[in-house]
Amino acid sequence: MRCIVVDDEATARLIISTLCESSEDLTLVSEFESGIEAIKFLNAEEVDLIFLDIHMPTFDGMDLIKTLKDPPQVILTTADPNFAIQAFEFDFIVDYLVKPIEKERFEKAVSRARKMGSNKPRGRSDAADASEENQLYINIHRRLIKIDIPSIYLIEAKGDYIYIKTEGKEYKVHSTLTKIEQKLPADAFLRVHRSFVINLSEIVDIEDNSVLIKREIIPVSRSKRPELMKRLNLL
């Protein structure tokens, strides 16, 4: 099983690494001291198992769990002996280990993961998945901030940044329009100009080469206008 460890304590990471070395079928492919680093990795790589610390500053284990879209199996680690296992509401959490982790207990948890692994895929309920499809997490100053996608009315590109505008807030993110377009539902959003993506449901009116979104006049490229007109429910 390919696994990773996420823990802000170097000691805890080394203990897990040592325990993995003594297990025949566990390959520790990487270790991370924060949940944000782990998410970046998990977006690009597949693993079978995560050893995940619950208590981490700013972005803890539960935050990471809630962010994972197609989570592998997770074994939680905690230095809280009275840990209330609220986490078992998630099917992919197979066990939790209290630090310092005893070898026998570790092997028992891994054995459980092996057994449950054969029953995959598990994951969350359809309702939870549907709700997550309407959410987007953006990385601002090493914090992942959740945005409800339907609340976005406009995204504007300026230099190396994009500005995501919602009813109450504006977020500046180091990214590109192309990247964020891939994260948005294609039926609800449209790139009308090289620097603008609009939420079609927020259009107030349209003129020849511009569209009014809330109170902002947004230019529409000549090449994008046919697609825009096609997407509207014209009388």
Binding site: E9, T11, A12, L14, A79, P100
Partner: protein, 105 residues
């Protein structure tokens, strides 16, 4: 009073001296930093932060086999979260015991 030991680390590393030493080096370095940051948090009466560091130190107390010390650290952490440092002095005594132990390793 209970005394720190290396039973946990030796068992974990299946007696391999090199592995035990590798772990000890990391624990010693991290413990030193954590104790220092914990002390700063207590001095500035930032008890939320002190609770976070006490939580991490508690793990090290457990690694060195201090069961009563671990229980006290747990109690101290919870009190700190409530803004109380009633168990601070007792916690400091345990810290000194652990630090005196690791300095000779």
């Amino acid at each position: 009073m209970e005394k720190p030991n290396l039973d946990y680390l030796e068992d974990l590393c299946e007696g391999k001296e090199e592995s035990v030493q590798r772990l000890l080096n990391v624990v010693k370095k991290e413990l030193k930093e954590e104790v220092s940051t914990y002390a700063e948090a207590i001095a500035s009466k930032d008890y939320d932060s002190a609770a976070l560091w006490a939580h991490k130190i508690k793990h090290k107390i457990g690694i060195f086999g201090l069961e009563n010390g671990y229980a006290l650290a747990q109690k101290h952490e919870l009190l700190l979260r409530e803004g109380k440092k009633d168990a601070h002095e007792e916690f400091e005594r345990i810290l000194k015991t652990v630090q005196d132990f690791v300095i000779d390793l």
